[in-house]
Amino acid sequence: MDILVAIVVMALGALLLGAALGYAAVRFRVEGDPVTDKINAILPQTQCGQCGFPGCKPYAEAIASGKAEINLCPPGGNEGACKLAELLGRDYAPLEEEAIKPERAVAVIVEDRCIGCTLCIQACPVDAIVGAARQMHTVVEALCTGCELCLKPCPVECIDMRAIPETPETWRWPEVRRPADERRQAEGMAAC
C-alpha cells in the first residue's frame, strides 16, 4: 500500500513539473539564437567582411555553430578575440600579425573627382554615404566604420582612407609604463 502511495505521489509530482516545464518552454521561448546575439554584440559592426563572411552577423552565426575561428576579425583586434574566448570558453588565439590595423580610419570622397555613379552608396553596408545619380557623393564621417568596401567599386578611384586625427576630446591617458610591463610586452602577449 505504502509503495503505491509513494509511486502515485512521485508520478503526480513528475507530471506537474513536466507540465510546468512544457508550459515554460512554450511561454518563454527565446526567438533566435542568444549566443549569436551575444557574439554579435562583441563584434565591432564594421561589416567589412575581412573575416571572410558577408558581415558581422553571418560571422557571429558561423562562430556560434563552430564553423569559424574566433580570431578572424581585424577591426575587433586581439581584445575582441579575447572577449570572444571568454564568452565561449574557447582557447584564445591572437590574430595574425599582418591583419591588425594600427588605427581607425574613415573613407573620404575626393569631391572634384566624384562622377556620381552611386556604386559606393550601394557598396556601403551601413548607409554612411549620401548622394544621388550624377550628383556628388559624400561620406558621413560619424557613421563610417572604415570597412573599405567602397574603395573597390569606385570607377574613378576617388575614395581615400584617412586616419582620424586625435583631438583633446578623444585623447585618453596613456597606460602607466613600468619596467615589469615592458618585459612582459617583449615576451609577447601570450595570455589575454
Binding site: 554579435n40 563584434l43 557613421l143 566604420t145 583633446p168 585618453r172
Partner: protein
C-alpha cells in the same frame, strides 16, 4: 552663529604654502601684445567664432558665440585686431593643439559699450541668456556655465558659495575675498535672488582669517543674512561633493548633481564675475591668478585671459633653477614645460614654478603591499588599492564595479602612498579606456542598426520588384486570356481577371525601430 558641520571621510593636510603668495595685494598684469584664446573655455559645446582674421575688435566684444544651451560665449580681453584663427597649444594633458583665436593688442584697451543689466525687469530666462552671452562660467576649475546651474527645476534650499580654496599654494580666492568682499557679497545677493535660495552659506577654510573677517564685514554692511561658515582646514574640503556634505549632510553620488538635492554651489570668483556682468556690464575677460613656487615675488595677478602662462610667470621673476610649471595646484594641477605656449584660460587659478628643490622627482614605483593608507585618506570612501589593481590588470569593468566613476582625482591616495604609486594616473587611464569603450559600443550599436535596416530594405525592395513583375505577368496573361475569350466566347467558368491581383498587400516586415 554655530552650525553643526558634517565631517567627510579621509582627506589630508599637506603644507599649505599659502603665505608665500597671500601677503601682497592683487596686482594688475601689464597688457601683453598677443592674446591666444582657446575656444573651449567652458564645459559643454564649444562656442563658434563670430569674427574673421583681420577684424578689429573692442575689449569685451563677443568673438565666439555660445552654440548650444550648455555653452558660453568668449570675448576679446582687449581691443585690437584678430591676427589668426587656428590651432594653438593649450593647457591640456594631451599636449594637443586646439582651435583658438589670436588677438593682437592695439594698446588702447578700449571697451565696447558697457551697460548694467536691469535684471529685475527681465524674465529669469533672459537673465540666464545674458549670463551665457557674458561668458560666465565656474571659475573654480570646472568651467561649468553658470546660467545652466541657474536653470533648475528643483527648488534650491541652500546656496553655497565656495571660498574654501583647499589646495596648497593657491590664494587667488583668498585675496579676492580680502580685497573685493563687497563686490562678492553683491554677486552672492544676485545669485540668492536668481536661485531663490532660503539659506546662503559662504564656506571659507579657517586658515584664511582675513578673508573671513572681510566677508563678515561686507555682509553686515550690506545687511544680508548670509552665514560665513568656517571650515576646518583639510584637503579636499573645497571639492564640490565634500563641501556639500560638510555643510548640509547631503551626499550626492557621481551621477547625481547636488542641484537635484536642492543645493547649488558657486565659487567666490564666479559670484564676483556675475556681479561684474550684471552691475558693470563687463563679460569675463580677466581673472585673478596666483603665481607661486620658485619665483622671487610670489603673489596674485589680475591678468587678461589669453595671456601666455610663461609670460605671467616671468613677471614674478622665476629663479634660474626653475624646470617647469604647474597649471593649477600641486595636487590636481597639470605639469607643463616652462616654455609652454599655453595661454591662461578662465580656469587658470594658479601657476607654480617648479624646481627640483620644491618638487623632487617621485621615487620609482614599488609594489603595492595593500597597506590601505590610500583607503584611509580617500574622501570619496573608495578603495584605491582595489581600483589600482583592476586598472593595472586592464580589467576595467571590475574597476567600474569598485566605483571608479566616483573618483574625483583629488590625489590624496597618491600623496600618502608609501610605495609612491601614481594612483591617479592609473585611474585616469582606466576612466579613459572605459569612456572610449562606451563610445565604441555606441558606434557599433548604431552601425548594427543601420546594417540590419539596410538588409531589411534590400529584401523589401527585392520583394516589391518581384511582386511588380508578377503583377505585370499576370496582367499580361489576363489580357491574352480575355483576347482568347473574345475569340471564343463559348468558353465559360473562367476566374475573374482581377483575381490574380489579390496578393496586393505589401510584404511588410516589422520596422526595426532605432533605440
Amino acid at each position: 552663529m554655530l552650525r553643526p558641520l558634517f565631517s567627510f571621510p579621509g582627506g589630508i593636510k599637506p603644507d599649505s604654502h599659502k603665505d608665500d603668495s597671500s601677503r601682497t595685494p592683487i596686482a594688475p598684469a601689464p597688457l601683453p601684445e598677443r592674446l591666444t584664446l582657446p575656444l573651449r573655455q567652458s564645459a559643454g559645446v564649444m562656442p563658434l567664432p563670430t569674427v574673421r582674421v583681420g577684424d578689429r575688435v573692442k575689449k569685451g566684444q563677443v568673438i565666439a558665440s555660445a552654440d548650444k544651451w550648455v555653452s558660453a560665449s568668449l570675448h576679446a580681453p582687449t581691443s585690437g585686431k584678430v591676427a589668426d584663427i587656428g590651432k594653438y597649444p593649450m593647457a591640456h594633458p594631451s599636449g594637443l593643439p586646439a582651435l583658438a583665436i589670436v588677438i593682437e593688442s592695439d594698446g588702447l584697451d578700449e571697451w565696447r559699450e558697457r551697460q548694467p543689466l536691469d535684471w529685475q525687469r527681465l524674465a529669469p530666462q533672459a537673465v540666464r541668456q545674458y549670463l551665457q552671452q557674458s561668458g560666465v562660467v565656474g571659475l573654480g576649475g570646472a568651467l561649468f556655465p553658470s546660467h545652466v546651474k541657474l536653470d533648475t527645476e528643483t527648488r534650491i534650499e541652500e546656496l553655497i558659495i565656495n571660498g574654501a580654496e583647499c589646495e596648497p599654494y593657491i590664494t587667488c580666492d583668498d585675496r579676492l575675498m580680502r580685497e573685493r568682499a563687497a563686490e562678492i557679497v553683491s554677486g552672492v545677493a544676485l545669485l540668492r535672488d536668481f536661485t531663490g535660495a532660503r539659506q546662503t552659506l559662504i564656506a571659507i577654510e579657517n586658515n584664511k582669517p582675513e578673508a573671513i573677517r572681510a566677508m563678515r564685514g561686507a555682509i553686515s554692511e550690506h545687511g544680508e543674512n548670509f552665514a560665513v561658515v568656517t571650515l576646518p582646514t583639510r584637503y579636499p574640503a573645497g571639492s564640490l561633493r565634500q563641501l556639500v556634505y560638510t555643510l548640509t549632510g547631503k551626499r550626492a553620488p557621481s551621477n547625481v548633481l547636488p542641484t537635484a538635492m536642492g543645493v547649488q554651489c558657486f565659487n567666490v570668483a564666479t559670484a564676483h564675475s556675475i556681479w561684474r556682468a550684471i552691475v558693470l556690464g563687463e563679460p569675463v575677460v580677466r581673472r585673478v591668478v596666483t603665481v607661486s613656487g620658485n619665483v622671487r615675488a610670489p603673489g596674485n595677478w589680475d591678468a587678461p585671459i589669453g595671456m601666455s602662462m610663461t609670460a605671467l610667470l616671468e613677471l614674478s621673476g622665476t629663479f634660474p633653477d626653475t624646470d617647469g610649471l604647474i597649471a593649477g595646484g600641486p595636487m590636481m594641477g597639470l605639469p607643463l614645460p616652462l616654455a609652454t605656449g599655453a595661454p591662461l584660460t578662465k580656469d587658470s587659478n594658479c601657476l607654480i614654478a617648479r624646481s627640483p628643490r620644491l618638487f623632487p622627482p617621485r621615487p620609482p614605483e614599488s609594489p603595492c603591499i595593500r597597506c590601505t593608507a590610500c583607503a584611509q585618506v580617500c574622501p570619496q570612501g573608495l578603495q584605491p588599492f582595489e581600483l589600482y589593481w583592476w586598472s593595472r590588470a586592464r580589467n576595467f569593468e571590475k574597476a567600474a564595479d569598485y566605483a571608479l566613476a566616483e573618483c574625483i582625482e583629488c590625489g590624496c591616495c597618491a600623496y600618502v602612498c608609501p610605495a609612491s604609486i601614481p594612483l591617479v594616473h592609473y585611474f585616469r587611464f582606466a576612466k579613459g579606456e572605459l569612456a572610449a569603450a562606451a563610445r565604441e559600443q555606441k558606434m557599433a550599436d548604431s552601425a548594427r542598426f543601420r546594417f540590419e535596416f539596410r538588409q531589411f530594405r534590400i529584401e523589401r525592395e527585392k520583394a516589391e520588384k518581384a511582386e511588380k513583375l508578377a503583377r505585370a505577368a499576370a496582367a499580361q496573361a489576363a489580357k491574352q486570356k480575355s483576347a482568347a475569350a473574345v475569340e471564343a466566347p463559348a468558353a465559360s467558368g473562367e476566374p475573374a481577371p482581377m483575381a490574380s491581383l489579390k496578393s496586393h498587400d505589401q510584404p511588410c516586415a516589422p520596422n526595426p525601430e532605432p533605440r
